[in-house]
């Protein structure tokens, strides 16, 4: 069940990128999941579904790309800047 720890770390990385602007919303989190990363993709997706329900994610989708090797990365974020003008 270390997928939850991994999911929390993914959320932390995403939150770091979004910063403190409360109007911004993350719409999609792109991930690269190595087949030998020791992470079960379905389990990770389930954890992320739960975590991504709360702000600043507001129901963001997780997009997993299965890759060879053992790397685990956050590749991109899709962010809605909302009312942010800067």
């Amino acid at each position: 069940m270390h997928e939850m720890s991994v999911a929390l770390e993914i959320c932390r990385i995403a939150e770091d990128q979004v910063g403190l602007d409360t109007l911004r919303r993350v719409r999609e989190v792109g991930l690269e999941v190595g087949r030998h990363s020791g992470v079960e993709p379905d389990n990770l997706l389930f954890c992320l579904e739960v975590l991504l329900e709360r702000p600043p994610f507001a129901g963001a989708r997780a997009e997993l790309e299965l890759t060879p090797g053992d790397e685990l990365r956050v590749t991109y974020l899709e962010v809605d800047d909302g009312g942010a003008t800067h």
Binding site: M1, H2, S5, E9, Q17, R27, V74, Y76, E78, D80
Partner: protein, 238 residues
Amino acid sequence: MAVRRIEVRERVMERNDALARDVRSSLRRHGVTALNLVSSPGSGKTLLLERTLRDLGDEVRMAVVTGDVQTQNDADRIARWTDDLVQAVVTGGACHLDARQVSNALEVLDLDRIELLFIENVGNLVCPAGWDLGEEAKVVLFSVTEGEDKPLKYPKMFQQARYGVLTKTDLLPHVPFDVERAVAFAREVNPDLEFFRTSSTTGDGLAGWYDFLRTVAGRARATTGAESEPSGRVTAGT
């Protein structure tokens, strides 16, 4: 409403791995060898540590960072054999230790007094494989009351480990466990795995384990100071 894409490319484990690198370099600087003990629950990590501390405590200065999921029990057992060098981490349900917990534990240990540091991980053959703790090597324990095919079922852990300890060998007459088969399975996933066969109850085979520990402790001592500090180097930026 403007939706834009931010490229990130950040490794999920980077924060843990950066801390693990700090732990590793700090241990090396102090001449401390750290062994990360992993196994399924009940394979005998705590008892092996108790015996080791009792039998080798006069020769080698050892400390233990132990991770219990919910209790203080393992730390209490180990504390009977060493004065002040036990640092307990209650993981509160987490299935593994991470580098942050080890890094915090090191802050309260006096590394100048230590030659060998055992990190007793949470009993689990899956999750601890994903977290580098800054150890010199992983040691996987494997008891004769388990299935011989454990290495095939949990290959990642056996691949990462450099040493294997077969435990509870005193029970071999009573259980249908084929040692050669088990070792063959382990070598199938990791041909370089070095094996010790031990019984912490009778003491059988512990001499070899102790010789190994003396050697790694001595090796670390010998290299202390040899590794030059990157002094005077200034890193610009963040």
